[in-house]
Chain length 201, copies 2
C-alpha cells in the first residue's frame, strides 16, 4: 500500500506536513503522523525530515517564502518612484503581513514564532533576503541622490530592519492589538526617513 | 508565634517574596510560602499580595525601580553636555543594564520577561517613566537648538524607545549573545541621531 517516495513531490510532502501540524499542533505532531497521512513508511519520510524540528522548519520556510517574501519582492522590484518612499512601503508591507497572519492564521504564526526563537539558520537566511532587498532599494536611492550613504548599504538596511523589529518581530505580537500601532510606525518612520534623506540645499 | 503584619515593613515583605521566588521559581512559589518564611499567617500576607501574579509583579516592580530606573534617572538628570549625546548615553545605559541582568541574574530577568508579556500596568508605568525622562532630555535639546521638534517631545521619545526595542526588550534576549550587538546599536543610532539633529547651516 505504501507509495515509494519517488512519487511524492516536495509540495505533496509539505502539504501533508502542514496539514498534520495544523491538526495536531507543533508539539504533538510526529514524523510518523505525516508518513501515515501520505501512506508512506516512516523510514521514507525520515529521509526528508530527520526530526520534528526539521518538519516545523520546512513548513515555516515555505510559509515565509510564499506569504511574506513573495509580496515583498514585488515591492522591492518596482522600478518607479522615490527610493525612500519605496523603502517605507516595503517595511509597511512587512508589518502589515505579519499583523495579518498573527491574527488570521495564528497556528502557523505561533509555529513561525517558536522557530524564530530557536534562532535557526532558516530565519537568518530569511532575514538576509529581506536585508538584501532593502539594500537594493537603498542603493537605488543613493544613485538617484535621495538617500545619503551614511554607512554601507547592508548596514543601513540592517539598522532599519532592527529599528522596526517591534512592529514585525513575532515576539512583539502581543503589542500589535494596540490601536495606535500603525501611527507609531509612521512616527518612527519620520525620524528614520529624515536620518536617511540626502540634505538638499 | 505569628507576628502581626503591622510589624512588617514593605521591604521585609518584598525581601521575603524575592527570596522565595528565587528559591522555588516564579511558577512554584505560592503566597503561603512567603507567609511561612515571614512567620505570618496566610491571611495576613494575602492582604499585601492577593495572588501569585501580584507577588511576582511587586518584586519585579522593585527590581525595575531600583536596578533599571535609578541609574537611568541619574543620566537624565545630568545638566551638562549635548542633549543628543545624553540621549544616546541614556539608551545605551538602558541596553547595558538589560544585557547585564539577563546574563548575571537570569532568574529575576526571566520573571521580569514573563511579567512584560502579560502586558501589565506595571510595565506600562515603567515605560512611561522612561519616556518622560527621555522627553525631558529631548526638551532640553530643543531649547538648546540641537534637536529638531519633528514631533511632540513624548512622541519622539516613544519612537526612540520603540526603535531600540530589539536591544532592550526582554523578548529579544536570545539575540543579545551576538558579538556585534553593541555595534548594531551604534549603527542604528547614527541614523536616529541624524533624524533628530537640527540642521545647522
Amino acid at each position: 500500500m505504501n507509495k515509494p517516495s519517488a512519487f511524492l513531490s516536495k509540495t505533496e510532502i509539505l502539504d501533508a506536513a502542514e496539514q498534520t501540524l495544523r491538526r495536531f499542533g507543533p508539539d504533538k505532531t510526529s514524523v510518523t503522523d505525516v508518513a501515515k497521512l501520505l501512506g508512506v513508511s516512516h523510514g521514507t519520510l525520515y529521509r526528508h525530515f530527520p526530526s520534528k524540528a526539521a518538519l516545523r522548519e520546512a513548513v515555516t520556510e515555505r510559509w515565509l517564502d510564499e506569504l511574506i517574501l513573495a509580496p515583498l519582492t514585488e515591492i522591492a522590484a518596482a522600478a518607479a518612484g522615490n527610493a525612500l518612499e519605496q523603502l517605507r512601503k516595503y517595511i509597511a508591507k512587512l508589518i502589515e503581513l505579519k499583523h495579518h497572519y498573527a491574527e488570521q492564521d495564528s497556528e502557523m504564526f505561533k509555529m513561525y514564532a517558536s522557530v524564530t526563537e530557536e534562532a535557526s539558520e532558516l530565519i537568518d537566511t530569511h532575514i538576509q533576503r529581506i536585508i538584501s532587498q532593502m539594500g537594493s532599494v537603498i542603493d537605488k536611492g543613493i544613485q538617484e541622490g535621495t538617500i545619503t550613504p551614511i554607512a554601507g548599504t547592508e548596514t543601513i538596511a540592517r539598522s532599519l530592519f532592527y529599528a522596526t523589529a517591534r512592529f514585525h518581530h513575532p515576539s512583539h505580537a502581543y503589542e500589535w492589538h494596540s490601536g495606535s500601532i500603525g501611527q507609531e510606525f509612521e512616527q518612527l518612520w519620520t525620524i528614520l526617513a529624515r536620518g536617511l534623506a540626502a540634505v538638499t540645499s
